[in-house]
């Protein structure tokens, strides 16, 4: 086995997350798929860090986690406020800007 197997796993997880964003209609599940994509990118960063013998990749993964935490807080607050006005968490119902 080679450390690049981790990269293959990371690519697979990222693809599943991207397909999930395209398929699912529930805003929270779409958001969870984005989290999965961020995690896949983190796995790739940490594997690159190990392959190159430098801690920079781990620090980048750490920053990704911080940004993801901020993003989750704001995203969930937006979903909550949309739910409060439309009583629905489906991305298909929030289409006022379309017309």
């Amino acid at each position: 086995m080679d450390p690049s197997y981790y990269i293959v796993l990371s690519a697979a997880l990222f693809t599943i997350g991207a397909v999930g964003v395209l398929i699912r209609r529930n805003a929270i599940v779409v958001f969870m798929c984005i989290e999965l994509m961020l995690n896949a990118a983190n796995l790739a960063l940490i594997t690159f860090s190990r392959m190159n013998g430098s801690l920079d990749g781990q620090i980048m993964a750490f920053f990704v986690m911080v940004v993801a935490a901020a993003e989750v807080v704001i995203g969930l607050a937006i979903i909550m406020s949309i739910f409060r006005t439309r009583r629905s968490a489906s991305v298909d119902d929030a289409n006022l800007l379309k017309y």
Binding site: M1, D2, P3, S4, Y5, Y6, I7, V8, L9, A11, A12, L13, F14, T15, I16, A18, V19, L22, I23, R24, R25, I28, V29, M32, E35, L36, N39, N42, L43, I46, S49, R50, M51, G53, S54, L55, Q58, I59, A61, F62, F63, M65, V66, A68, A69, A70, E71, V73, I74, L76, A77, I78, I79, M80, S81, F83, R84, S88, A89, S90
Partner: protein, 254 residues
């Protein structure tokens, strides 16, 4: 922790075994998250994937980032997801109706194409790479190494992160805040006027016909002329008319 750190360079048998056990679990978690109809199940599947990824980070000589993954991601962020799921209603599951016809098929095809592109690109880039390992970088300890880089090389990014977190906290407060309008508050005088206004019946509503012939609150109250008093019926309780058999004496009377 030194045994974990020693694994950094080439892949040992133990690491390979762990990978072959946990990688399918991570994939099952990811596919289950997309597949599950119930959003709570999706969140739990994602927790499974994130825990496996945390173990991978620890395996790859990153004990600090692995613990952060488990504590911050799985412990805090996913619990926040579950919290919001419970707030907006657990049954907010997806409808099976496609709004665009063939969207799922196209999305799957796009995903397969994307995976193909990613694998070819990565295969060319990574295939011939030799793994150096983090033994040297982790010589003084993984956490110490990360701290040294974070507070020297990346100190500006680190400080900017604090601004980001403050902005996120203020933004979340602003988005979740509901302003109470003062004019909406009804005073006692206005309530009294509305009560005695023409068209409003000021007295309390009549009670249901409990104990007249039955002890159900669904039985309507009767007026003296034996017609049903409409106001005695609750909108929440279904109306019930007694059948002959139910209205007949039960034989328990004295």
């Amino acid at each position: 922790m030194s045994t974990v750190l020693a694994l950094a360079g080439e892949v040992t048998t133990g690491e390979a075994a762990t990978f072959y056990i946990l990688a399918p679990i991570a994939l099952i978690g990811a596919i289950g998250m997309v597949w599950a109809r119930n959003a709570v199940h999706s969140a739990l599947f994602l927790v499974l994937t994130m825990l496996s990824l945390g173990v991978f980070y620890i395996l790859q000589a990153g004990p600090f980032i692995g613990m952060v993954q488990i504590i911050v991601y799985t412990g805090a962020i996913m619990m926040l997801f579950l919290f919001v799921l419970m707030l907006i209603g657990r049954d907010a599951s997806d409808s099976l109706i496609e709004t665009l016809r063939g969207q799922r098929t196209v999305a799957l095809l796009l995903g397969i194409g994307f995976a193909g592109l990613l694998c070819t690109g990565l295969g060319r880039a990574v295939g011939s790479m030799t793994s150096v390992g983090l033994d040297e970088a982790n010589a003084a300890g993984n956490t110490q190494g990360i701290a040294r880089d974070l507070f020297t090389k990346y100190v500006f990014a680190f400080e900017v992160t604090s601004a980001l977190l403050i902005t996120a906290a203020v933004g979340a407060m602003l988005l979740a805040h509901v302003e109470k309008v003062k004019a909406e508050k009804v005073t006692q005088l206005e309530m009294m006027r509305a009560r005695f206004a023409p068209g409003n019946y000021p007295a309390p509503k009549p009670g249901p016909g409990v104990f007249a012939a039955t002890n159900s609150v669904a039985a309507p109250g009767l007026l003296p002329d034996r017609t049903v008093a409409g106001r005695s019926l609750s909108a929440l309780v279904p109306t019930r008319e007694l059948t002959e058999a139910e209205a007949a004496p039960k034989g328990t009377e004295k």
